[in-house]
Symmetry: D2
Subunit: 313 residues, 4 copies
């Protein structure tokens, strides 16, 4: 079994904290759980951890880290020891350094991806006056903006996809769900999971790596029609989606991508994918000839985008 | 041809103007166009007239009037003259009495329904800073609350349905679309139109009449899924729908009813009905044995409701 | 007032009647009302006339005619007389020549568009064993294929858009809803209506005219999600949409275009547009700078397409 | 970790195999994988195992068994040994006895629920000519009927809910997600999972037990709008839903229940629930005072129903 249970949160550095809050709160519709002058913590109405997004004031827009929650408390140190054995530099983060969270470890993968592992986390209920109608939600549905149900997955670019995929399997217990192959048969992109989701992590070939390699962070909505509503909401706010609405062949998700204008970080509104309950899912490879988008708008190439990925499900 | 073109607006008296504004603005999602201390004018993002709802501060919750717009300017006085010939008392309302509107006439039908007819109206664009993405809308979609596209129809109860139906046809040019018959074959409720909508006006048998006889005002949303979203939004605001989500057989509409807690006025969120383009639509009668709801939640009987109608499409 | 009430039906010539029936019946989901070896008559479950589509076996794929129903029986001859006064050649079609239909007149517009006008038509109920659950439908919903509610509009290309628009207004009583202007300010495309729909007829600039100028025939579905379902259904049948799913700015419709592989005739699956109830709608012009698609997939250019239109709402 | 991975299939006895096939194939829209005169095997387009539903010709309508797939091949015998240690009678089913399946064990829970555990199963691709557009599906979407994505969960009634819940946890590794408590605080119904789904198994208090205690089998559709479409499709086929469309508080699912008229077995069309990725989900208890349906149609009491359950999510 894998030691990792799920993608727990994503911490993003932004040069304009107020601007990014406008996007993630007012437009995307996350709830602010806690904030001070340098960091804001947010979550969706179906997220239960203290936060699933942290926005950190910084000189430059970069991803700070992706936080992976382990299955058991002892998995954090056990995985840390294995990483150190492999020569990976591991940083200890004391409890409370990140609000609502216990002791954590941070490290970079061979592809440079900035990861955190942790287990202890506060599951704070909504404050009085903002309690949701249902006990199984942490916030109120449809209160503002897109109003996604929960954080879904993260997608990075990195120059060496096959190597990163293999390391993710061996060290972190990821399984491969699907792969897009290039014309030469090499792995162009891979979709990997530790949970039952179609994927928790995707990696695609790109010229950058590490904290500059974030392609997008995805948030789940219950219905394809909610993705269409998000498109109209974004456009009314002057934001132009750079991919979708459409439906990927890989992951089968109905998708829409837009960027926070204050930071350039891209988010995906995501619905309608599959879950994997079988223990013996075989990776599905799509050759360049086979690959197609199921339907909908193709990615827009943007001159000011640091990355360029063909199949960013 | 009928002299009336459409239901233009509905003016509602409320004992709690601030409370009703909270419902019609924050929860239902209409835009406030203009207001002072005693009256507020609102419209939906797809409404073009100055307002489609007026909320008037008053001692008691009642409908003030339903405003029917005529096809041509001269239709107002011509129809007024015909009404006076029939002995109907007609009140002249000077231009500007109702904001954004020209001279109008007010009268009561034989069933006591408080009507206004008018033609001249200001089609005010959205103020700078609130302009919509599309030139064919007057406001921004999905900016807050349910966010319906437009006012759709009005539904009254009155003791004598068949007589009111006949008068509405003869004097005002309404056509009957559908009728619900009681066990004795009498007309229990009728759905009538001057426009291409499935109905602009519905009348159902009930013990009250006139300005106390408002059953509901309906607002159109583009999709059935938008009706479901409205149900969740209402419940998060502590409002319990008293009918739906469901789909009527009569009108084929997907429906949801809820009441403004400040005034008790009921609104319907409405989608998916038919339009009638043929000039020779024959009224469709449903006997008590034939009548059914297509699917979904039946009406809830509420002890504090002044009216009780079996088939309030 | 206009003499025309609505677009009643579209008659299409196909070189492969069985193949086209497979598309319009099995895939699009229309019901076959009547057929013989050379012609098949179909309609949607919310259409009441004898047929809204006629498929005619022919050497070549062309539109045979667009059938416009008049408001009153006497409008047919009155309009015929006006056309002859203007020098238009008018052909008399006897009752029964087209199944289920009374006497009609056929003529070509100055742009060559092949029109028919008629009023008498049989409103045949569904045969026993295929009766729908609701009396206000002519067939069963969701029985097969896309299952649209009704025929919506027709779209032609023709070289002289402004001239055709003016003639359609003056002779046939169309009103202009919206127009797309080219960079030189000339009318590139126009959307026109005789009914309350956003448009019954669209004309766009193209190199061909007349019966070769059909761009598409549109069918209405109740929800945007039904358009997405249609995309998946088409792809499972091996058909690739050549535009959409997306949402036009002009008409605000959620759209999807695909071609019958047997004939090349293009159909649009269409939802979510507006209706016009006001008698004084002012045409909305979109300059080339202003024009945008609201969201979604752009048109695909196809080398084998006889026409090429930039804004085919 | 649990030994069970998921609900793999449900085998149902029916006194009218052809009639039940009409329901599960033509109306529900499952694909027939294999059949002979006494048994038919079906699956949904997103199911990969040989079958997820088996229909078995029999004298009486009962559930034959719920088939639970284990995580690893060796889990079958290991769990069988533990059951025998506890005095449970375990029946060995040879490979191939159920088409497409390896050796299995069958037993009854203390509440009498007829279970099968197995691991080996054939993942048969669709036959040529029925291949889906996407490699990650086993069949074509929207080909006929409701067309659900996959089997979701099973719901039983049994007299002793708390005892069955405890045994399911201890012996089979189920976790409790939510519970409905009666007025006396006792467990009225429990929703349990071995996978990441909101629940794989639900048990509610009822007077019957064992193979007569099936409340329903649920099938997942991607969107709430697909549930509404299913309601209309059922009604067109003369079937009246006995609960929904609506949305449960417990599980948050959009739901619709209807019964196969040939057997009386009830199916649920189910969408929009949550998944649980956290390893430390705490069971959520709803008291009788707290419990509510989120929105929509309440259950219909049917005189001919063998069971009567208040909260059958």
């Amino acid at each position: 079994m894998t030691a990792l249970a799920r993608l727990g949160h994503v911490a993003l550095r932004t040069p304009d904290l107020e601007g990014s809050l406008h996007f993630f709160d007012d437009i995307l519709g996350l709830d602010v759980v806690e904030r001070d002058e340098t960091v804001a913590y947010l979550r969706a109405w179906g997220d239960f951890e203290h936060h699933t997004v942290a926005l950190i004031s910084a000189d430059e827009a970069r991803i700070d880290h992706a936080g992976w929650r382990t299955r058991a408390p002892e998995d954090v140190d056990a995985l840390g020891a294995r990483l150190r054995e492999q020569g990976v530099e591991v940083e200890e983060v004391p409890a409370g350094h990140e609000a609502g969270q216990g002791a954590a470890l941070r490290f970079r993968t061979p592809g440079g991806l900035p990861y955190e592992i942790y287990h202890e986390v506060e599951k704070r209920p909504a404050p009085a006056g903002r309690r949701p109608a249902l006990k199984t939600n942490s916030g109120r549905v449809w209160s503002h903006g897109v109003s996604p149900r929960r954080l879904d997955h993260i997608n990075f670019v990195t120059p060496e996809v096959a190597a990163e995929e293999a390391w993710s399997q061996q060290m972190l217990g990821f399984s491969t769900r699907e792969r897009a192959l290039g014309a030469d048969g090499s792995v162009h992109a891979a979709w990997l999971a530790v949970s039952a989701l179609a994927h928790d992590l995707a990696i695609g070939r790109g010229p950058v790596r590490g904290s500059r390699g974030l392609h997008h962070v995805a948030f789940y909505v219950d219905n394809a029609s909610d993705v269409l509503r998000a498109a109209e909401l974004f456009i009314e706010h002057g934001l132009e989606p750079d991919h979708g609405p459409g439906r990927h062949a890989i992951s089968q998700a109905v998708c829409l991508y837009v960027r926070d204008p204050a930071s350039g970080h891209r988010v995906e509104i995501y619905s309608g994918s599959y879950v994997v309950l079988d223990p013996d899912w075989e990776p599905v490879d799509w050759t360049a000839e086979e690959y197609r988008q199921w339907w909908g708008a193709q990615p827009v190439r943007q001159a000011d985008s640091p990355i360029d990925v063909v199949t960013p499900c």
